[in-house]
């Protein structure tokens, strides 16, 4: 069991390799690739469930750590580990992957081999992002996730797929290159101060906390910015969001689900893990700006979502609004706000993932996403409509569905925050996001699902089939469960969140685990020995 995390990263890769090998066997059929992909992603999900068992408990430290030498000459290590924060994001990833693959079942007809290999590579990279504890390794996975997504959009996308794919790639890679600069700078700073050449996050935090390394405020400012720029593009934080509507809209359904469900969370996860852990002082310094941008994003995203003529684009803009809540919660530096932010990441993944799936299903039938082409779908497609309404309500934040818990906690956290003055104005403005969500979602439902039918083509649509219902039901169950019994999640993330918060409130304490201190000592000896 010690290699659980490595197994998790490798499983999709093995799956990709298996698919490739299978394609060379005589008698291989293109329609079998999806089964292999589904099998491996489901297996990954089942394996990842073991994480709950092994990583549960109330301790902030990283669990299931694996730490090997990777590129010895520069001190990069293959260091993996999960805590209460990454645990849930890994599970979200492994849950959404089989669902995405199943949703591509009939939608993807061209180049199936490439498609499913890319999907599996993507899964591997995304899992890697959430469990790497070495900055270089993290960067590698962070960038690696870009490439499959670039091809997914560029090959299987909609009409403007090339534009969207290139925009997505350049936008996000500009950000991550800055982060690479930041990582290298931090590496040298650390080496100079302590004599240890390492990218290891746990060691870096530990040296920072113990006072063995102090980064000058100016350097911290720039380093924070370099990291944050990469993450804020990914989130995306207003006004860096314009890649998102294009990428989400043009991507194939599964691509949109993964983009919204997981890739965006890499941004907020990065802020929470690396920006807060490594640059707590700068984080505090930047909080007013980040909170302002987050609140603008909440309202702006919602207002622009409201006027979209395209259902998929509407859901895409709603992500800007929802992710604004996450940033707001993170930078409130309160337990409620940060717990809520993590919870909102998960709920957004589930409910927006479901919404994209649903939009994909109707697109497959009608080959249009324009709201004006629909209407009165409730009669021909009752199951579809029921799922659509419930997923929308979850996105709106109806209590007892998942969206409410996160947004409520974030608003509570924002209001108790001491990081900016007049927080109540911030909270009240952010709270209007609740109203706007109802406006754009219900207005869309009114024009798509309810009302009288607008065209004959809509009246003949067939309702969801068993496969489609089957892939929505898990998400639906999760929506209710997360809304009614959030303790399952909150209790397991509390300690880690609290540690992250401690790191901000008193940079010299808090942080990761105590056991690391000894490890740092032994590592230093190793280095000297060498």
């Amino acid at each position: 069991m010690n290699h659980l995390l490595t197994i998790l990263v490798l499983l999709p890769l093995i799956g990709a390799a298996t698919t490739l090998i299978y394609s060379f066997t005589p008698g291989a059929r293109e329609s079998h690739h999806r089964w292999i992909a589904l099998g491996f992603s489901t297996l990954s999900f089942l394996v990842s469930l073991l994480l709950i068992q092994s990583a549960s408990g109330n301790i902030a430290s990283f669990r299931l750590e694996e730490n090997y030498s990777w590129i010895t000459s520069i001190g990069a290590r293959f260091h993996l580990g999960v805590d209460g924060i990454s645990l849930w994001l890994v599970l979200l990833t492994t849950l959404l992957m089989p669902i995405s693959i199943l949703s591509s079942w009939t939608a993807i007809t061209r180049r199936q081999l490439t498609y499913y290999i890319l999907m599996l590579l993507l899964e591997s990279a995304m899992i890697g992002v959430f469990i790497s504890l070495d900055l270089l390794l993290f960067y590698l996975f962070f960038e690696a996730s870009l490439i499959p997504m670039f091809f997914l959009i560029g090959i299987w996308g909609g009409e403007r797929k090339i534009y969207a794919a290139v925009k997505f790639f350049i936008y996000t890679s500009v950000g991550s290159l800055l982060m690479l600069v930041g990582i290298i700078a931090l590496y040298f700073i650390h080496q100079r101060a302590t004599g240890i050449a390492t990218f290891d996050y746990a060691i870096l935090v530990d040296t920072l906390r113990s006072g063995a390394l102090t980064i000058s405020p100016r350097a911290e400012f720039w380093l924070f910015l370099a990291f944050a720029f990469a993450f804020c593009i990914k989130i995306p934080l207003w006004p860096l969001h314009t890649w998102l509507p294009d990428a989400h809209t043009e991507a194939p359904t599964a691509g949109s689900v993964i983009l919204a469900g997981i890739l965006l969370k890499m941004g907020t996860y990065g802020l929470l893990r690396f920006n807060f852990g490594l640059f707590p002082n700068a984080a505090k310094q930047f909080a007013p700006i980040m909170i302002t941008l987050a609140v603008i994003g909440i309202i702006y995203g919602a207002l622009v979502a409201m006027v979209q003529p395209d259902v998929k684009r509407l859901v895409a803009y709603s992500s800007v609004s929802h992710m604004g809540f996450v940033v707001l919660g993170l930078f409130s530096f309160t337990e409620e706000g940060m717990q809520g932010a993590l919870y909102q990441m998960l709920t957004h993944g589930v409910s927006t993932g479901a919404l994209f799936l649903i939009v994909g299903m109707i697109y497959e039938r009608r080959h249009t996403r324009m709201i004006s082409d629909f209407g009165g779908l409730a009669r021909p497609m009752p199951w579809f409509s029921a799922f659509f309404v419930i997923a929308s309500l979850s996105s709106i934040g109806l209590p007892f569905l998942n969206g409410f818990v996160g947004e409520f906690l974030i608003m509570m956290g924002a209001w108790t925050s001491t990081i900016v003055r007049h927080v109540w104005i911030v909270t009240m403005l952010a709270g209007t996001g609740m109203i706007w969500a109802a406006v754009y979602m219900l207005w869309m439902l009114q024009r798509v699902v309810f009302g009288t039918k607008t065209s004959e083509a809509n009246a003949k649509l067939s309702d969801l089939n068993a496969r489609e219902i089957g892939l929505l039901v898990p998400l639906l169950v999760l929506m209710f469960f997360m809304g009614i019994y959030p303790s399952t999640f909150l209790s397991r993330s509390r300690a880690s969140i609290e540690a992250a918060r401690q790191r901000i409130s008193s940079p010299q304490s808090g942080g990761v685990n105590i056991a690391l201190t000894e490890r740092r000592g032994s590592l230093r000896e190793q280095v000297h020995h060498r």
Partner: protein
Amino acid sequence: MQSNLLSLIIFAPLLGAAINWFVGRRLRRERFIGIVACASVGVSTIIAFYFAFKSDGALRTMQPVMDHLWTWIQVGAFRADFGLAMDRLSGIYALFVTFVGLLIHIFATGYMRGDDGYYRFFAYLNLFMFAMLTLVLADNFLLMFVGWEGVGLCSYLLIGYYLDRDEAAPAAKKAFIANRVGDWGFVLGIMLVFFFTSSLGKASISFFDKPAYGVASALNTIVAIPSVDPFSWHAIFAGGITSIAVLLFIGATGKSAQIPLFVWLPDAMAGPTPVSALIHAATMVTAGVYMVVRCSAIYTHAPTAMFIIAVIGAVTALFAATIGIAQNDIKKVLAYSTISQLGYMFLACGVGAFVAAIFHVMTHAFFKAQLFLGSGSVITGLHHEQDMRRMGGLRKYMPITWLTMCAGWLAICGVPIFAGFFSKDQILWKTWVAGQFSLPAGFGKVLWFIGAVTALLTAVYMTRLMVMTFGGSERFREHHVEPTVSLHHNEHETNESQIDNSRHSHEPHESPLSMTVPLVVLAVLSTIGGLVGVPYAISSLTGGHPENYFEKTLSPVVSAVPANETAERGGQNEPIWLSPKPEPVDGRPAVAQVGEAPNSATGVETASPQEISQERIFALISIAIALSGIGIGWFMFQAQPLRRMPSLLEHKYYVDEIYDAAIINPIHVASREGLWKIFDLGVIDGLIHSLGKTVVNFGRTFRYMQIGFARGYAAIILAGAIIIIGYFAYNGAHVLRFLMR
């Protein structure tokens, strides 16, 4: 007292909803669906009555019946349980919600016969009962909010129930959004309750003390605060109790359709009539009143908020009544009447007459449910005709409906003995004698006048409704010849679509038993239901039982405004929500009773003789108002039922149009043209694209260096190498040093 059975009150309807949704959908057998729906509510009703009236039940002791299920959200000091509690207030509410709900469910089995969404309708209706009872029985603010949003959701689903009607979906959306605007205030109010109590060191959002779970009551914490907020506008923004009270009241204006968020309720009539009766008259819309009374401890510390409530309530009451007088759709008249009556309830809350408010909620549930169901009976009898201009003379055809609606009509007009008389009369009387706690001197008289005018108008429009529907000539056979008033110009009107498909090939007929039995029961309740709360001043006249049972039950669990606090009541059986001794407000004496010296004991039982005689005089005035209103209505509309009403009123003061023009359209256009097209696509993407173009152009320029000769490249490589080496030679690790600084 703990009892796990209590949760069955809410879960029985939920189970019914699930059965109807999953099984009823397959079976499609109306009998099965109807029995499941009614039985599940029946179970709730029986359990509610059991827990209310058993020997140590909620209404007979001071201890609430509690049921803790699980801890819902716990983060930091914040804790919200899924826990239920039935005390005297929620007990009374649960009683009439379940009972009236049961009657309406029975009525609906007849009304919805033959509708192909039968299972869906009853699943939603049962789900509504679950949400409503959760709202009522919740033991903390956040669970109450769950029910609060839940009833909003069910209201949304049921307003939009008729999928083939164009006006249904926009009306449903409008209702949800208007409610959401209010909910924004409610959520923030809940948060502020939490912060306020945690600043006192007792962080809680619970209504009750739950020592077994380490939860203290937020309301008790607030009650224990000896001083009240000053009466000033600044208090609203101070973040204290007044802010809480105002934010919570914003929630109430949404749910209970008060100015400025009332616009959704008339449109909500697009739903089936039993829905209008259950949700939009008897139960859900009164949730705002319930919440305010539940939080009476907060409001009695926030005179500014109470003043706002009183004024908004009174103005809404008058405003809606004037519109109601000019409507021609029978359900719209009742909808505006509901808004108006809700205004009364808030007026009562605002002047501190919380018990009278709940009393009116209850009697209103009886008579308004009766009137709505009666109108539903008329509508089915006429084959889905809702326009009163095409009714008339129905008394002959629908005698039971007519007779029972008469009871509702007399009750809402405020004719003595009927239920509405006692509750309305008490509100008016309490408004007249309201102390100076929340109202500037003399303001109570102004509000009383508004209330009295509203009472008159109520009698007039209800008489108009009865006359147009049941009296006069039989107009339902005629074809509609009146030049189409521009009434039908917007999508919200419900009539247009029905004009064509109602050919009146059949005569009107009386409704089946499943519909008339609930009508009769509700008519009886509308007639005698008010007798549980007869004030001493009136009951003493008859020499009968001089006990105001309703007030006696409820007053210990609501906070009284400081002016009404009595030493004597404090001595009795230690009420739970007892307010502290009156304190001076802004230097003025807190105790200011009309016609009495300060500091003397007051209260219903111990009122002075002058006061009692004055109250009797006011009761007479109420009767006179009711009778003259009926008289005016009769005189005006008996001969001329189709009398044209002022156009401004017919168009509802153009409120919808104003909202569209002033709020909705500007936001819409600004979002589409300004934010999306100009800022998003123009500015941000424009910047990005020009950045991209610059890079491309750079590349183009540099491309000319690639001339294809090897020596050219060599020269460039050499130059580059020299530059780089030179740079490092001079600067060393300058960049690094910069970062290290």
